[in-house]
Symmetry: C4
Subunit: 250 residues, 4 copies
């Protein structure tokens, strides 16, 4: 089976597993239910992890260039390995992003916007869950999901009021990830706007528009026509020379 075919087959099960994981982890992190429901959630999380592990092993074993695949899919590797570090397991949901990436394909500006907005919302949500999970038992001020979401927004936008700040090691690792996501977010927003403005500015000054392949093709067509004229003339002359009287009417 080719890697391409496996990915087509695995796509929807992976999205489903991501969604189940996200819901189970959300319930666990926000309400932290004790007893049987808590254990059931724990089991669900482990099952989704098994699905991701299976996908990773299959992909790695059928990839034509195994090391190249490993090197270019470090995010998938992290998504499988991180749950071992239990409180950081929420980051496993980044696989949902890699799944999205598979379906998004080549990115146009419209797709970039949707993909980035989706990633940002998901990142804020997951980071808030994970930080709440690791900070709740500590001495930090982040004690409710609302506070965690508020903290996540102030961090990803690089505003950083400092009214809520993670104080545990794991919480700070998540925070650093979110900060760099914020830089990436800013970069993508700016770059997309820049590409859009450049296009609009030039679209309005028609005579100053950059020469495009379409223009070159038009030029080429005219040169081809010229060549045709020359060739026709050369041929005509040969005919004239071979039979000069046919036309001059002598």
């Amino acid at each position: 089976m080719t890697l391409e075919r496996w990915r087509k087959i695995a796509e929807w099960p992976l999205i489903g597993a991501s969604a189940i994981f996200l819901i189970a982890y959300s319930v666990q992190a926000i309400s932290d239910p004790p007893g049987a429901p808590g254990l059931l959630l724990e089991d669900l999380i482990w099952v989704t992890w098994a699905v991701f592990l299976l996908d990773y092993i299959v992909c790695l074993s059928i990839a034509p260039r195994r090391w190249h695949w490993f090197y270019t899919h470090l995010l998938d590797f992290g998504a499988v390995v991180l749950p071992m570090l239990r409180p950081l397991r929420a980051l496993r949901v980044v696989t949902l992003l890699t799944v999205l990436q598979r379906t998004a394909g080549r990115a146009l500006r419209g797709r970039i916007v949707i993909y980035v907005a989706g990633s940002a919302i998901l990142l804020v949500y997951v980071a808030a869950l994970a930080v709440l999970d690791v900070e709740r038992s500590g001495a930090g001020r982040i004690q409710t999901f609302g506070e965690a979401i508020w903290w996540a927004f102030t961090t990803i936008t690089t505003v950083g009021y400092g009214d809520y700040v993670p104080v545990t090691f794991q919480g700070r690792v998540i925070a650093v990830g979110l900060m760099f996501s914020g830089i990436a977010l800013l970069g993508v927003v700016t770059a997309t706007l820049a590409s859009w403005i450049v296009e609009r500015v030039y679209a309005q000054e028609a005579s100053r528009q950059t020469a495009t392949v379409a223009h070159i093709d038009a030029l080429r067509a005219e040169i081809a026509e010229l060549k045709g004229l020359l060739a026709a003339e050369a041929e005509q002359r040969i005919l004239d020379q071979e039979d000069p009287d046919a036309r001059s009417g002598v």
Copy 2:
């Protein structure tokens, strides 16, 4: 009636309603007058809301592709629905921005700058009003309009000192909106500068300037001239051939 015509008719009434709403809401949020004046302001705000609701219903009913219009005008929908959530109603004034957008038309760099500067100032003002409205009764430190404006500026620039921070749910929702506006502001400023610098850098190195449509047109004109020369020559030869003695003087 076409959507285009309705928009022309509705443009100025909508700007007027936005301005009245903004003034009424400002007075209410800053001085919070009790008794009859307070009720009058409340009534004024409801009247402006009715104007926006009317515009929204008319637009939706005469739009050729209703779902497409709904999907591409979510901001208008929000502007109509949000006032229901009373303390967030200030955000309705974002319709003033959509009205501005209608008149601004296609955006050149100059227009982008004016539009962005205007939006930023309006956003800071409205966000300060709305935050003051929801935070004044809470335990937060934002208690005067001056403090609210100061907080809004530190937030939209993503500086985020943290000396004044919203503590209510509604205040934080407004803050998150302002933070993302800050990211957009940064993006627009950067993108506009980038487009300007790229233009200036190339404008100075004339020989390295990008080939434009104007250049291609010049080339085309020369090729056309060449074609004309060829055609004239071919025609001349035919004349010569038909009457070789006319010129050779035999």
Copy 3:
């Protein structure tokens, strides 16, 4: 006298006045000397102000289109009017920037970098002076020049720790100005880098380089040569036709 000539004459006196103002204001804001030295500094500041006022009046009176000049030189206007608001007078030194702009002329990337770096350093220095001047007597934590500089750096970079924050109205106005300068700084840095990266990326992939005016000129030269060939041939034929025996050796 033309505006252009006046500017050439006034350039160095204005730079001198800016430098004197900057030094006098620095000494006043940092050490706040009482008695005679303090009065002398005050006088010096007023003298430099008179120089700027004179320049502004002359420029406005000899400008060909007065309103246009006023509209495009609002910064100069602010530099003259602001000292009236005594504690904000340090902002007058922004005229030094407008003087720099006069000499910098059209901006290439190298010049942009120097101009922006210079502006950023000057802005941080002047904002620190002005904030120290207005905050020292208040209840804020900014009490020494070192603290003011530290605050100015955290603000212009949009880091905003919040350990030192202006608490007076005037101090906050200066802070907002510095925040927006920070956004502009970020924008210029990013835009300059973007223009540089775009250039380097394309410079390396020679065959994918954008077609430039130089290339179009080369094409044009070849087409001109072609036209020359055609013209020469046409002329030669006319000669042949007029005297067919001269060459055919009949």
Copy 4:
């Protein structure tokens, strides 16, 4: 010996010295060992400094245009001089970056990403070390390496929570350097993304692609062919004229 040759020879010893310095300084700043091990570390740091000083002196003496070299290598100068200011000596490791720059050569987008990511990580690490070194003995809150790293990340991303802030003069100088590195980081991320998005957007709209040198070369080839046709025809005519009967079969 040419400067180019010396650089090739000195490259690996310099990387080695940088690595030894980084390790020795890390141990010293983090654990601050007393007695003999501390003195040994101190000696190691001085030895690596001597290596950098030697490289600097040799480069300066064999550079063809000494002042130009000095002017364009201020970073190397700083790396040699700064250790004199003992607590700031960690900044000397920026030479590691200049060494990296030598090997990185002309920067493509891929290389830029690697170089920037490496620089950011190194800067965070070194700034954390240096701040820890100068702040530990002060009244600030930064007392462990973990806190210093956390502070460095919040600073370079311009988030700036303000929960940990340097309070000494030297610590603040390092912080300002890190803030501007953060602005540069943001700029490079954005610019790289912008260049990538612009490329992707245009790559998809083939007919709207910018005309490249390759296209111009194709046009040139066609014009050359045209010229060839013309020349062949002109030559043929001369042959015909010289011997008109050879072909017309008279």
